[in-house]
Amino acid sequence: MNSTAFDALLWTALLVGFAALPIFGGDYLVGIGLAAAMWLALTQSWSVLSSLTGYVSLGHTVFYGLGSYVVVVTWQQTPLAIALLGAGAASAAFALLVGLPVMRVRGPYFVILTFGLAELVKYSVLALEAEMGVSSRLLFGAPDIRVIYGLMVALAVAATALRILVDVLPFGHGLRSLRENEEAAETVGVPVARYKLFAFVLSAIVPGMVGGVMAMRSTFFEPIQAFDPTISVNIILMAVIGGGESARGPLLGVLFLVILSEWLWAKAPQAYMIILGLLLIVFVLKFPRGLAGWLADWQRARR
């Protein structure tokens, strides 16, 4: 079976699985499906920026948090659809605003900068809420988990489609070329600054909407949780474990970690975090191409 046919089969099976889950599964399974869809949406969006350009973002939680904040602040004052679109738009606007200066920073500096930026926004929102005398906000009348699940699956599909689309577009080739050598890409006519900014903004939209949807799931909002850096860390781990070469990578990484966390997180959170740390070290050092790279090698070897 060639790689394209395999991909088509894989994505169809996944979609059927996601569609069948709420029909056959109970609330527990739907909850797991929701988590998988959420991480898939986040990691695919992240990969559009970080896997393709090599600018590793350790701060995608900032978009998630901003989206949550938008939905929570406008709760029951605007129609839900508008609020969710607003969440995506707010994230995109923030990315556009900070994108140019931020994307000038390279390598490890970029990684640590994105982390710092997310923390800065988190503590700013926290201080702002404290000044306004709000410690946490509650959401009344949030929709049923199955509605939330449906929205999240739609976001996961959108993010995956975006990654697959960017992969084949000239834009995507431009991003890959600037990852290999920015100066060379610039010389052969890739509009490096514009492409980087565009990738940054594109990768921010879906995470904003994901944050908005998750605010309805948790039915309350606290800046510390909405802007939790663990979200960024999880995204990176899933992407690193899965591999960044194609849209398959994030899927494999997400499935791997969702299953692992289902098994361990509730029982021994610290042990789970220790394993995450170990996995990060091992994959960065020994398997930089991730599970997807290993799968691709295996398919090639069988042919």
Binding site: I112, L120, I281
Partner: protein, 297 residues
């Protein structure tokens, strides 16, 4: 009214204490990053580890922090040596392309940081801890100073001065500065680069664990206090200039002043906003770090 607050010796003293603490934390990060281009985000976790060791030395063995800090500093040095021997020497030699080490090292250290924090949290529980030590108050004019803060200020200043003198006058210290300036040129003129790397690890780890002892004397700590120290140290290194140890001390005091006076003018809610604000602004102003790419080839 607020002018009086700003001019009081109290604030100046607390800015000095905070600044000297940042200086002793940052000097280690600066050495390791300056000589090897390894951005050790787990550096702050060494501080946290030192804090726990001091706590246990006092509560379990009854050894006061000002005595245990010698042992803890030595322990930090040994850990640095062991890590260098077991992992990093091979990593640094094996990598033909330093750019690749640099890009991956951050994720690697981040993994180590997660690992260390949660291992400590597992064994020692995540509950914050603190102990009382030298908490009698000395008065100098209007300024009230607790003994532990004075001890921290003096220890941090002495450690920094020691490292500075070592870099100025000892032959390995001089070699270390040569490697920071230009690794390639240093190697060509016959500097033992391996010895320099080893020394940076030893000095960096020792000073960070000593800093941890100082932290534990003054404030409460949990397994997760390390990261803000890494961030603060990173700000100091960029502001002062990579590998520029002397300017780093000035930058550390500057950060201490900004933090202390910033909080006095606003409120404690804004502490982290200030810290991360300075951090983001610094990186945006110096996108490659002060000396970043120039040294790559």
């Amino acid at each position: 009214m607020w002018l009086d607050t700003l001019l009081s010796g109290q604030l100046l003293f607390s800015a000095l204490v905070t600044g000297s603490l940042y200086a002793i934390v940052a000097v280690g990060l600066n050495l390791v990053y300056g000589t090897m281009r390894l951005l050790n985000v787990a550096h702050g976790d060494l501080v946290m580890g030192g804090a726990y060791l001091a706590y246990w030395s006092l509560t379990l063995l009854g050894v006061p922090p000002l005595l245990s800090l010698w042992m803890i500093g030595l322990g930090g040095a040994l850990i640095g040596l062991a890590l260098y021997r077991s992992m990093f020497r091979r990593l640094l030699i094996a990598s033909a392309d330093p750019g690749r080490v640099e890009a991956n090292s951050l994720l690697l250290f981040f993994g180590i940081s997660i690992l260390v924090q949660n291992t400590i949290a597992w064994f020692a529980t995540p509950t914050p801890r603190a102990y009382l030590y030298l908490d009698d108050v000395y008065k100098l004019g209007d300024t009230a100073m607790t003994g532990n803060r004075i001890a921290s200020l003096v220890t941090a200043a002495a450690t920094c001065a020691g490292i500075w003198l070592y870099l100025r006058h000892h032959v390995v210290g001089l070699a270390l500065r040569a490697v920071i300036d230009s690794p390639l040129a240093a190697r060509i003129v016959g500097v033992n680069v391996e010895q320099v790397h080893r020394t940076s690890f030893v000095l960096g780890f020792a000073s960070a664990s000593v800093a941890g002892v100082l932290v534990s004397m003054m404030e409460q700590f949990s397994p997760f206090v390390g990261f803000p120290f890494s961030i603060a140290a990173f700000i100091v290194c960029i502001l002062g200039g990579l590998g520029n140890i002397g300017a780093g001390f000035v930058a550390a005091l500057f950060l201490g002043v900004i933090e202390t006076y910033g909080i006095a003018l606003t409120s404690l809610n804004w502490r982290s906003v200030l810290l991360y604000g300075v951090f983001v602004a610094t990186l945006l102003a110096f996108p490659q770090g002060l000396f970043g790419r120039r040294v790559r080839s």
